[in-house]
Amino acid sequence: MTKGFKIAFKAVIILLAVVIAFLMASVILWIIGADVSATFYTICLEPLTNMLHLSEVLIRAIPLCIIALGISVAYRSGIINIGAEGQMSIGLLAFTGVALAFPDVPRPLLLPLALLASVIGGGVWGFIPGILKAKLNVSELLSTVMLNYIAAQFYSLCLRTIYLDPAEQVYGTGTPQSMRLTDNVWLGRITGRLHYGIIIAIVLAVLVFLLMWKTSMGFKMRASGSGARAARYAGISVGFYVTVSMVISGAFAGLAGGVELAGVHRRAIEGITNNYGFSGVVVALFGGLHPFGIIPASFFFGLMIYGATLAPTKVGVPANIVQVMQGIIIIVIVTAQMVLSNDYFRDRVWRRIQSLRKKEA
């Protein structure tokens, strides 16, 4: 088997995967009678046409990037975290709690404190499925999903009761939201609504890279993920690293919540999590579970998520289409990876081509 063939094989499979993903999305668009090319233009290109759109894309890319970094750490350690949605909610609650409790503490102290609270909140919510997996072998896929629903209910309970804006009680409009947080916890803005969280996201990407590839802890985590049994024989406490990776993963999601709150909304409202937790899984996979892949991937998915909000008015396509596309992308990625790692299949294709060549000769 020549080297050229190996590269060509890989390229063809990836190209095929992209084509299939587009075809599947097109079929759905065709069923709802939308203009397929106009929809793809609106979702994938239109947001790039002016600065306002672009800053909105970046705003969405920031939490996606932070969450996906956390998910990639967990995934590399052999545990799939689909609970980022719930961890983010708890992070939001912790951040809001600190901001509401100490409105007069000066900013250089309060902002880090509130962000730390969101990290701890998310970390605790990640610790639960981690320890359940490590000690009791509970499937993290199920426990994290359940914790998502619990966190969502807990979040709206808090918004409706202890965090409720006093003004809401006075006017009695009953919108479940907190009061506007003190400006001591605001993150500065660069342009438009784009805030300095983008720098936090990039710094975290570098930190994750250093953690996973330049420290022994990262090595042990990756070893636990790629071969739990072998890692255990080598003396690595797999359960411990699985739990730790899940705590880190939850902490990242919690922080994403804190940054989102400090930079964009500045008060706790319903719907801040905006499905970022699930999109983060797609971003992490799309970015090849590597921090430097996740940065561009989060930009791409920020683009799609923002583009989808334009779609209902521009081309009459419901914004849910982005969820369809994300589902398709996950399925296509994992399938293509299996085809690429299947040497038997590649061998068969190679032999088939050889025999065809012989026939021609």
Binding site: I28, I80, L136, V138, L142, Y149, I150, M325
Partner: protein, 315 residues
């Protein structure tokens, strides 16, 4: 007090059907060795299609019951197609089942939401199917209300449980399914086509998940919304663990969880001063607690659950 309890218990049977059907379907998947986390997505699609057909036929007005039957049938067919699709991904391409299931879930939920907004628009209700009072039996006080005055679909679902048990434990096909999930290599050497069996059980499981979704929209909520399923697909997967891969025990689990879910309805309708959100949380908390107690060293689990089978590779 007696009223409240009777009320809760009488909700258990009709409200447990969706969990019951989806969970039994997932049980067939897992018995064959495939962990299908996409159940939630298939249920969403089933719920949408099940509601769409009677809605298009009558525009929310009362229609012939045959349209509801057609809705159920379409949901089952669509669910089977989703199962087939999942088979292509996990059986033929041997993709990791957990993450592929998440993909299927997002795809299904996303599709249902997209298509719903296009074909129906906002919240629309349909007349659904009426309750049937079984003669004589439904006249018994308390017991009659709890067991014998529900819609026809819920009776059929409960009749299906012993049928599912019989299929799984007393038919050649059931034996093949269990073999494919327990020791696919041995099954393969005895001439069982493991891939085919897995495909078949995925289609059966998908059809049941589709029916479960259609039940939710046609018989239970009588409408479709994005939050209609709200995790029932995942609870159904957890119930399979709880029920030790046995339809009869799954039925017990489904009733238990539904009882926990009815608590929120009771809080709402009887105005008990208890935070509503905590009542909604209850079944989800229960799932985690139950999983914590049942997951460790479960001897009844299919041993090849979640493992793709490749007859070309020696292990």
């Amino acid at each position: 007090m007696i009223d409240i309890i009777t009320n809760m218990l009488s909700m258990c049977i009709p409200f447990s059907v969706a969990l019951l059907l989806a969970s039994t379907g997932e049980m067939f998947n897992q018995r064959a060795g495939v962990f299908n986390l996409g159940c939630e997505g298939v249920m969403a699609m089933g719920a949408f299609v099940g509601m769409l057909i009677p809605f298009l036929a009558g525009g929310g007005m009362r229609v012939s019951q045959w349209y509801n039957v057609l809705g159920f049938a379409a949901a089952a067919v669509l669910g089977a197609l989703f199962g087939l699709f999942f088979g292509v991904i996990t059986v033929t391409f041997r993709a990791p089942q957990g993450i592929a299931g998440i993909g299927l879930q997002m795809f299904g939920v996303g599709c249902a939401g997209t298509l719903f907004r296009h074909f129906v628009g906002g919240t629309q209700s349909i007349p659904g199917i009426p309750d049937v009072d079984i003669p004589l039996l439904s006249k018994i006080p308390v017991i009659g209300e709890i067991f014998f005055s529900h819609n026809a679909a819920s009776y059929l679902a409960y009749i299906f449980i012993p049928v599912a048990w019989y299929i799984l434990f007393r038919t050649p096909w059931g034996l093949k399914v269990r073999a494919a999930g327990t020791n696919p290599r041995a099954a393969d050497s005895m001439g069982v086509n493991v891939s085919r069996t897995r495909y078949e059980s995925l289609m059966v499981g998908g059809a049941l998940a589709g029916l479960a979704g259609a039940y939710l929209s046609i018989a239970q909520a009588k409408m479709f919304s994005d939050t209609l399923i709200s995790g029932r697909g995942f609870i159904a997967v957890a119930l399979v663990y709880f029920g030790h891969w046995n339809p009869v025990k799954i039925m017990g689990g489904a009733l238990l969880f539904t009882f926990a879910q009815t608590f929120q309805t009771v809080v709402q309708s009887f105005g008990i001063s208890f935070p509503y959100e905590l009542a909604v949380m209850l079944p989800y908390v229960l799932v985690i607690v139950v999983l914590a107690f049942t997951s460790r060293n479960d001897m009844s689990a299919p041993t090849s659950l979640g493992k793709p089978f490749n007859r070309e590779i020696r292990t």
